[in-house]
Symmetry: C2
Subunit: 303 residues, 2 copies
Amino acid sequence: MTTPNTMRGVLAPVVTPFKADLSADRERLIAHCKWLLSQDCGLAVFGTNSEATSLTMDERFELIDALVEAGIDPARMMPGTGCCSFLESVALTKHAIELGCGGVLMLPPFYYKGVSDEGIYRNFAEIIERTGDDRLRVYLYHFPQMSAVPFSIELVGRLLENFPGVVVGMKDSSGDKDNLVAMMNAFPGFGMFAGNETLLLKNMRLGGAGCISATANINPSGIVSLFNSWDADNADDLQGALNAVRESVQQFNLIAAMKKMISHYASDPSWNRVRPPLVELNEEQNNKLISDLETLDFEMPGL
Amino acid sequence: MTTPNTMRGVLAPVVTPFKADLSADRERLIAHCKWLLSQDCGLAVFGTNSEATSLTMDERFELIDALVEAGIDPARMMPGTGCCSFLESVALTKHAIELGCGGVLMLPPFYYKGVSDEGIYRNFAEIIERTGDDRLRVYLYHFPQMSAVPFSIELVGRLLENFPGVVVGMKDSSGDKDNLVAMMNAFPGFGMFAGNETLLLKNMRLGGAGCISATANINPSGIVSLFNSWDADNADDLQGALNAVRESVQQFNLIAAMKKMISHYASDPSWNRVRPPLVELNEEQNNKLISDLETLDFEMPGL
C-alpha cells in the first residue's frame, strides 16, 4: 500500500460526562458516542472539549478500553494522545494503535512556551520512533490559542518529509483561514480537518478531509449534511445554518454550553457537570442559550 | 499550634538529569540534591526547571521515593504537585505529605486559558479537601508567562480565608516587583518566595520568606549568603554579584544553560541533556556561557 489510510468526515471531540463526585461517567460516555456514530459522526475522544487534560492518565486508558468493549468501532476513533511528557504520549499512542484506532490527534507539549521548532520536532520524532508501529497515523493538533505552541509550515514540512505516511494530517483550530490555505497549498493531499464547522465548506473546497468540531457533539447531523454535500448548490445555505447554531453556543464557554445542551435536550441533569478549572453556565446563561436555540428551532433528534 | 510551620530560605527547582536514552538519572539527581543541601539550599523538586511536566506521573513518584530512600530530608523538600488534572494533583500531594515534605508548590491547571477565578478556586478546593490532611502546606505557583493562568489578589485572598494554615505562601515567578509588593501588602505574613534571586533582597525587605530560583541550582552558596545577611550593610553588593551571574545564565534557555554548567564544572558530559521540547545549547552558546562565567571568576565549589 503506497498511500496511507486516512480518516475523513466529521468528528466530535467527545465531551466527557461526570458523576456527582466528578468521576468519569463511563455509561453516559458510551451512550453519547453511540449516538454520535448513529449520526455518522466520528469520535475524537480526549480532545480539548473532552476535558482530556483534566483526566488522569489512568482514566484515559480505562475510558478508551470501555468504549471498545462496548462495541464502538475503533476505526472511527481518533483519540488525543499528545501530552506534555513524550513518554506519556508514547504510552497512550501505543494503546490506541493496539485497539485499532483510525488515527491519533496530537497536541505538542504545551507547558513550555517559546520553544523551538527543533524541540517540537524532537518531541514528535521520539514519539513516532518509540511507538514503532507502521499502523500509526498522526494528526497534528494546531491550536495556538490554547496550547500556545503553534506548528509552523517549516515544522510540518520536516515531519512530513521524515515520517511520510505516518504524519498524515492536522486539526487546525486556529480559526485562521490564511493558515488553512497556506497548509493546503504547501502540502497537497494533506489530511486537513478544519477545527470548527464554520470553515468546513472552505476546507472542503481546498481539498481538505473534513472537520473536527466541538459543536459536532450537539449538531452532528447538520454538520455531516454539509460534509456530504459540500459541492451541492445549496452548500452555502447549509454552512449559514450551521454557523447560526455555532454562534448561539460559542457566546459562552463551549464545553459548559454543550453539556448544558445535552443535559437540556436529553432531560438529564447529570450531564451538566464540568471539572475544574471549568465552571458550568449560570442560570442566566442557561436561559439565554436555550432561548437562542429555540429561536433557531434547534433540536437534537434521537438523543 | 496557631501558626503553621512554614518554609523559609533559598530553594532550587532541582534540575533533572537524564541518561543517554532520556530516562531519568536517579543517581545523579540524588547527588545533586545532596550537594544543594550541603550548601544549605532547599529542594523544590519537580518545578519548571526540573522539566517536571516532561516527566511521567510514575517517574515523579519513583524519583521522590528514591530521594527520601537516599536519606534526603523531606522537610527540606517542596515538590511541585500541581497538574492539569486535579486528581493527579491530589495523588502527588498525598504522597508528598506521607513522605513528610515541608510543603508543596502548586501550579494551577495550565491547559485551558482565560479560565475564571472561580474555576481555579474550585481546583484548589478540590485538591485540599480530597487530600484531607492538616499537615498540608500549599505554596501557590504564580508564573503567568509559562502557565498563562495567573493568581489574582482576590483569588489568593479567598484561598487564604477558606484554607487558613493550609495555603501559606506563593512562589512569584512573574518578575513583577509591583505584584510582590501588592501581595505582601494584602497578606502580611504570607510565605512569599521571590521567583528568582534578583528580587531576593527586595522580597526580604518586604518581609518575604526567601526565594526559589532556577539559578540556585548553580549558585546556591551565593544566594544563600544574601538570604543570611540581607539586613547587613553589604547586602546591595551581594545582590549585585548574584545578578551578574544570573545575567550570564539567562541570556540562554535557563534549563539548558544550567545543565551545561553542571556538566562543565563537574566534568560530566552526561548532565548536558534535556527532554523535548527543550534543546541543549549549541557549541557557540556553550562557549559564550562559559567564557562569560570565567570573566566573573564563577565557580561551583564541592560539585
